[in-house]
């Protein structure tokens, strides 16, 4: 019975990944060649308009990953459980590790991300600038909103005001810059087109 379960799961995984790869290849072959288009991220300052802040819902809870901090995956991982997302990765510069948690984004709805940043030894990152952004590389644009990023306790940030306004492939990008180094993590996310009015 156990053997059958493993075979089913592996078969499902292989077939699904194969389908996705083939479909992606099919998609690319159907597209006209496009010039390289840089991903533009809005860098505008916060408008000088005072908007009252709202009471936001509590953040989602997910089980703590069983792996040790030092064992962050080499490639970014996106885990989904009970409507929550857990994103983990080693920074591409190898200086910091990132862990992001949020509810599964609904298209066109604001959502909040809580993030933890660790140094290579697994300690919470100290002082620094942290941000989470999201871009659509195929579209050449980012979000229509400008999120805020607030440090709560050492190495932990709360980012509010993210919104994925279109279905399709997004890259969620976390950045951290301290006095010593800067590092980045990129997660691929396929946003569903299912919306609430």
């Amino acid at each position: 019975m156990t053997a059958f379960r493993l075979k089913s799961r592996h078969l499902a995984l292989v077939t699904a990944l194969g389908a996705a790869l083939l479909a992606t290849a099919c998609e690319k072959s159907a597209e006209p060649a496009k010039p390289d288009q840089p991903v533009t991220t809005p860098q505008s300052p916060v408008p000088q308009v005072q908007i009252p802040q709202a009471q936001l819902p509590p953040l989602p809870q997910m089980p703590t990953p069983t792996s040790a901090i030092a064992d962050f995956p080499d490639k970014p991982t996106v885990e989904q459980s009970d409507g929550n997302l857990l994103l983990r990765c080693k920074g591409i510069g190898g200086r910091y590790n990132f862990e992001l948690r949020t509810r599964v984004p609904k298209i066109g709805e604001l959502f909040t991300v809580t993030s933890r940043v660790f140094d290579a030894q697994g300690h919470a990152a100290g002082q620094g600038d942290f941000s989470v952004d999201a871009t659509m590389p195929d579209h050449g644009h980012g979000m229509m909103t400008q999120p805020t990023h607030k440090s709560t306790i050492s190495g932990t940030w709360r980012s509010e005001g993210l919104k994925l306004h279109m279905p399709g492939h997004w890259q969620i990008v976390a950045n951290f810059e301290s006095a010593e180094a800067r590092d980045t993590c990129r997660f691929d996310w396929q946003q569903s087109g299912e919306a609430t009015p």
């Binding site: 379960r5 089913s8 799961r9 078969l11 499902a12 995984l13 077939t15 699904a16 194969g18 389908a19 996705a20 083939l22 479909a23 992606t24 290849a25 099919c26 998609e27 072959s29 159907a30 597209e31 496009k34 288009q37 533009t40 809005p42 505008s44 408008p47 005072q50 908007i51 009252p52 802040q53 709202a54 009471q55 885990e79 989904q80 459980s81 298209i107 066109g108 604001l110 659509m136 195929d138 579209h139 644009h141 980012g142 979000m143 229509m144 909103t145 400008q146 509010e160 005001g161 919104k163 306004h165 279109m166 279905p167 396929q190 569903s192 087109g193 299912e194 919306a195 609430t196 009015p197």
Partner: protein, 448 residues
């Protein structure tokens, strides 16, 4: 060759789901992950090359079609304490049809939002006391939108209702004149809802016409406005805002009614793979194209069939319309400076999430306009923000050819040609299946 193969594999993957549900609970997320991958594969692999539109609906198609219906209950509008006050809605109904709320006594809200034209006017460009540069959008479904007007320069239905009143090309009136109409013709109804009109306004010394005129300190209306006491200005602003809130309370009654698509999806969700036969064959093919090969659902998603946001599709210019109009590029800044926006004294809430994170300098706002709802779209021609197209066939022909370039900003990179081989008639048949009946007749004409 690869697409049918991907389709086959993806469908096999989906068929494995019942077995996978028997797996232990700790691995449940595998099911979600694989299902998502499989649906993407189905849509990307199968639809890209065209699936058999005569065959049974695929699971991915059912999931996407089900996301288009039904409209859920309307949430409260915290910015308008009278949004769901029945008395305010009845007052709003009367105001909606009242031509005295205009500079020439000839323009009412209903001029451009004719009830029996699904709250549009049938003209390419709306006209009141002058001709505007925008098409009149339907009001059916507007109560769900976070930003109003094609450029989103208002953030609530009640503040939107105030804009046309003081626009010289629309009603061409002013808030002091509006106050006089309320005082002279609606005072009992008004005071029963909003309370007594401030005593400071009950004077014969108020000017006939006065309002703020942006950047025009010598304009006679501005001069007259400057002559009022601060308490009088605040009192008139309050009455003016309440007029907007009554109009919005009325407009919240104007909800899209169930269309054939809604009946179809309801039957699908009840387990009828044929959707109860509520979509004729051509409309069903169009529905599958809409969520599949044509990818209309990228922007026209959710039960309102709009993503409620703004895109630059590079429409052709319209004679008589400023080709340099930045659309959302200006509207996003305008709403932040609006005196009746969320969070300011005339709003009934300080919770303003959409404004708080709005980025007015988002590069792709240039030349972008709001995605319109497609509910009742067959009844609301002409189309686009300046009425560029007279028919749905012309709209679809535009998306099949994407001629020209955007006059402001650039056409969104993702916007691809709709496959010219897709039958336009099928998509039009589906769009026609989005037509429901009009709201209750009692909300479509003023009370005697």
């Amino acid at each position: 060759m690869t697409a049918p193969f991907a389709c086959l594999i993806a469908c096999l993957t989906l068929n494995l789901q019942p077995q996978r549900k028997a797996l232990r609970a700790s691995s449940a997320w595998w099911g979600q992950t694989l299902t998502v991958i499989a649906i993407v594969a189905v849509l990307a692999g199968c639809h890209k090359r065209g699936i058999d539109l005569q065959g049974p609906l695929q699971p991915g198609e059912i999931a996407l079609l089900s996301s288009l219906s039904p409209l859920p209950p309307l949430l409260p509008d915290p910015s308008n304490a009278f949004a769901d006050d029945e008395r305010a809605a009845r007052l709003g109904l009367q105001l909606f049809f009242d031509k005295r709320l205009s500079g020439n006594g000839q323009v009412a809200c209903a001029n451009c939002h004719e009830p029996h034209k699904y709250l549009t006017d049938g003209h390419a460009l709306a006209a009141g006391m002058g001709q505007t540069e925008r098409n009149s959008p339907t009001l059916l479904g507007a109560q769900w939108l976070p930003f109003l007007f094609f450029d989103g320069r208002k953030d609530s239905q009640w503040s939107q209702a105030l804009g046309p009143l003081e626009n010289p090309l629309e009603h061409g009136t002013d808030r002091t004149a509006v106050f006089r109409v309320i005082l002279g013709h609606y005072r009992p109804a008004y005071e029963s809802i909003f309370g007594a009109i401030p005593a400071v306004l009950l004077t014969n010394l108020l000017p006939e016409h006065a309002r703020p005129v942006h950047l025009s300190s010598k304009d006679p209306l501005q001069v007259a406005w400057d002559g009022l006491a601060v308490s009088q200005q605040a009192g008139i602003n309050r009455v003016f805002a309440n007029v907007g809130k009554a109009l919005a309370a009325y407009e919240r009654k104007l909800r899209p009614q169930p269309a054939p698509l809604d009946h179809f999806v309801a039957a699908l969700k009840a387990g009828d793979i044929n959707g109860g036969g509520h979509l004729p064959p051509a409309a069903l093919r169009g529905a599958r194209l809409f969520v599949g090969q044509a990818q209309c659902i990228s922007c026209h998603n959710g039960p309102l069939l709009t993503d409620k946001t703004f895109h630059n599709v590079g429409l052709p210019p319209t004679p008589g319309v400023d080709p340099a109009d930045p659309g959302r590029g200006r509207g996003a800044s305008t709403v932040l400076g609006d005196e009746f926006r969320c969070g300011l004294p005339y709003s009934d809430t300080t919770t303003c999430e959409e404004l708080r994170f709005l980025n007015p300098k988002f590069a792709d706002f240039a030349g972008a306009y709001k995605t319109p709802t497609l509910r009742n779209v067959a009844m609301t021609a002409p189309y686009m923000h300046s009425g560029q197209f007279k028919t749905l066939e012309q709209v679809l022909q535009f998306y099949k050819t994407l001629p020209g370039q955007a006059s402001v900003g650039h056409r969104e990179l993702v916007l691809r040609l709709v496959d010219p081989d897709i039958p336009t008639a099928d998509l039009v048949a589906f769009l026609q299946a989005l037509t429901g009946p009009l709201p209750d007749e009692s909300w479509l004409k003023p009370e005697p």
